[in-house]
């Protein structure tokens, strides 16, 4: 286990440097004057321009600029928004809300997706299986912003179940509907993954052995079968986090939630590029770290990796 963890951490270093460099290049190598939009239609005053150029290190070469960018990341200095508020400050307010939304979404995925996938996998070819497979494809095909508006319109507004917008204090009950929207895409994938995995493992030797030595069906299914079938699901969750963040952006925008996604959504629609870039950078960093954690979790689940 220790060797695996160390190896993963070491592998993480070049990927981390490369990814941050990539973000930096994507932002900074796009054509156009970065200071152009600051003054609107008028030309920027030369002294102000000189000062800003100095402040953002625009007169240095790209490599040095990247180092300044990294210095900002390591000192948790992600810059300020247009209105002058530090991005880190916004993060402190917004992250707890997004985390609550994500936790609800993940709960929804786990509570619905895992059992449904398990049942579908155990009863392959039956009605439940074929229905859930088709339904999951339909859910995958509907873009999350469409799903969000459809649910907001038909469930929240027409049927009056849940709340179409989330209140200022962000109560848990208001977050239920957005969590369903946010979790539905991953739910479909989890269902399909669990089903495939369960269907494959149900025929495996260790399940036969467990049954043969007299264990109850319940124990065989939950402890032996489900645990091993979880491995691809956990791997998926790590990779899916990026999609979940993108989904949170759209969902929070639709339901007016003041989380990271909602803040980012507003910054995008207002054209506040600097805020967008720093918020997304933070999100990508979270994504990288979360994937590392998932990889380590993977080792806990799969002994073949632990002892490799």
């Amino acid at each position: 286990m220790g060797r695996y963890v160390v190896r993963r951490l070491l592998q993480m270093i070049p990927v981390f440097i490369g990814s941050t460099l990539l973000i930096f290049l994507l932002v900074n190598l796009t054509p156009g004057d970065p200071l152009l939009n600051l003054a609107g239609d008028r030309a920027l005053d030369p002294t102000v321009r000189a000062q800003l150029t100095e402040q953002f290190h625009l007169n240095r070469n790209v490599f040095l600029q990247y180092l300044y960018f990294m210095q900002g990341i390591f000192t948790l200095d992600f810059g300020t928004t247009f209105s002058g508020r530090p991005v880190l400050d916004i993060m402190k307010d917004a992250f707890p809300i997004t985390i609550r939304l994500a936790v609800l979404a993940l709960l929804f995925e786990a509570v619905v997706g895992l059992p449904a996938g398990l049942i579908a996998g155990l009863r392959r070819g039956k009605l439940f299986d074929s229905t859930s497979l088709i339904a999951s494809l339909v859910v995958i095909a509907i873009p999350i912003f469409v799903l969000g508006f459809v649910i907001q319109l038909f469930v929240a507004i027409k049927l009056g179940i849940g709340s179409p917008t989330v209140g200022v204090t962000t109560p848990w009950k208001d977050l239920l509907l957005p969590a369903v929207v946010l979790g539905s895409l991953s739910l479909a994938y989890i269902l399909r993954l669990t089903r495939t995995s369960v269907a494959e493992n149900a025929r495996s030797d260790y399940v036969r052995t467990a049954t043969a030595k007299g264990l109850g069906r319940k124990r065989v299914v939950t402890v032996h079968l489900l645990r091993n079938s979880m491995i691809p699901v956990v791997t998926f969750l790590g990779a899916d986090l990026g999609a979940l963040m993108g989904g949170a952006l759209v969902t929070e925008g639709i339901f007016n939630i003041k989380g990271v996604g909602g803040t980012l959504f507003l910054s995008i629609t207002r054209g506040e590029t600097a805020t967008v870039v720093s918020l997304v950078t933070v999100l990508v960093l979270v994504y990288l770290v979360a994937n590392l954690v998932v990889d380590l979790l993977y080792a806990v689940l799969d002994p073949r990796i632990r002892y490799a």
């Binding site: 990539l22 074929s130 995958i140 507004i157 967008v276």
Partner: protein
């Protein structure tokens, strides 16, 4: 895919296929899969081909054992789950190329006096909030979605397949470098990465949006291609061809690629749908295609404020978008089943 070589797998594949038949309720009887199956997995195709034709003939027209692709086509020809999405996609392609066949109303002709008016003669879906014809805009919006989807898929597959094939085929240091490079790009989530890139891009159009999505989308293809090539490159028929003196290029194009490309085709089909979603999401956020381009994402964006009063304006382009994406995903699933029944 290397796990497919044990003899017992054949029977498992067969049973899986039998189940598949029942699930989709597609084939009336379970008769056809049996003769097809031995060649349905690359490993067994390889075995047959090894004994028979070294050249890796994939046309299958000369009485030689049918290849994976001819089999897949044979299998797919009678599946509604393949034919229905295929017909839909062909129809969408016609709509995208010749929108004038379906509507003679100019999507950019808008009169504010018509804003949010209901359906009337000649305008079956009414008008949007700017007073443009909703039906016409939905018909004309197909082009942007399909253009971006196709451009990104072609670009990502070309780039990803080259990087993945080279990394998998040569191995060693080349593989290490290319794989780390792939990891770096893979670490950026598609939507977030595209937002960073596009939000600082001044003049966006179909090509800029496509470029952003290609840059972020190719690593997935590269990973699959690499794994697939590694699974194939040490097969006996490749070694035999090498022993006969075939050069790298011939090995790659005649022996390795035809046998390793199947998973990439499947992922590419499904990805096309995913890329269309990504473009629509970006346009919906207002950082994808510019407002001057008629696109479903942009139209959905401009309809959001009127969701409570005239949901029709939002639901029509949304339905068009969802049906398009669903078609590509269903097509991809059908191809996946045909190329590898065990994946399901």
């Amino acid at each position: 895919m290397p796990s497919r070589q044990s003899p017992s797998d054949g029977s498992e594949t067969r049973s899986a296929q039998g189940v598949t038949t029942q699930q989709s309720g597609v084939r009336p009887t379970g008769d056809s899969p049996t003769p097809i199956l031995p060649a349905a997995s690359p490993a067994s195709t390889a075995a047959t081909r090894d004994a028979d034709t070294d050249a890796g003939d994939i046309s299958g027209s000369t009485g030689k054992p049918r290849s994976l692709f001819t089999d897949a086509l044979f299998d797919l020809r009678r599946k509604p789950m393949f034919l229905i999405p295929l017909v839909l996609i062909l129809f969408l392609a016609v709509v995208a190329i010749f929108p004038g066949l379906f509507t003679s109303v100019d999507p950019r002709f808008c009169q504010l006096s018509d804003a949010a008016k209901g359906p009337e003669a000649g305008h079956i879906f009414g008008f949007n909030r700017q007073g443009c014809d909703t039906f016409s805009r939905t018909v004309h919006g197909a082009r942007a979605s399909l253009e971006v989807g196709l451009l990104v898929t072609v670009g990502a597959v070309l780039l990803g397949a080259i990087v993945g094939a080279v990394a998998g085929f040569y191995g060693g240091l080349v593989d290490s470098i290319l794989s780390r490079l792939t990891d770096v790009f893979f670490a950026l989530p598609l939507l977030l990465g595209a937002i960073v890139f596009l939000s600082s891009f001044p003049n966006r159009n179909v090509f800029v949006v496509s470029f952003a999505l290609i840059v972020l989308g190719w690593p997935q293809i590269a990973r699959i291609m690499r794994g697939s090539v590694i699974g194939v490159k040490d097969a006996d028929y490749v070694l035999a061809a090498r022993a006969l003196g075939a050069k790298d290029r011939r090995l790659m194009f005649r022996h390795v690629l035809p046998n390793a490309i199947a998973p990439v085709i499947v992922v590419a089909t499904i990805s096309l749908g995913i890329f269309i979603v990504a473009e629509a999401t970006l346009s919906y956020l207002g950082i994808g295609l510019p407002p001057t381009t008629v696109s479903w994402g942009g139209d959905i964006n401009s309809a959001t404020d009127a969701l409570r009063t005239t949901p029709r304006i939002l639901l029509i382009p949304a339905a068009a978008l969802s049906i398009t994406v669903l078609s590509f995903i269903l097509l991809g699933e059908a191809v996946r089943e045909a190329l590898d029944p065990r994946l399901r």
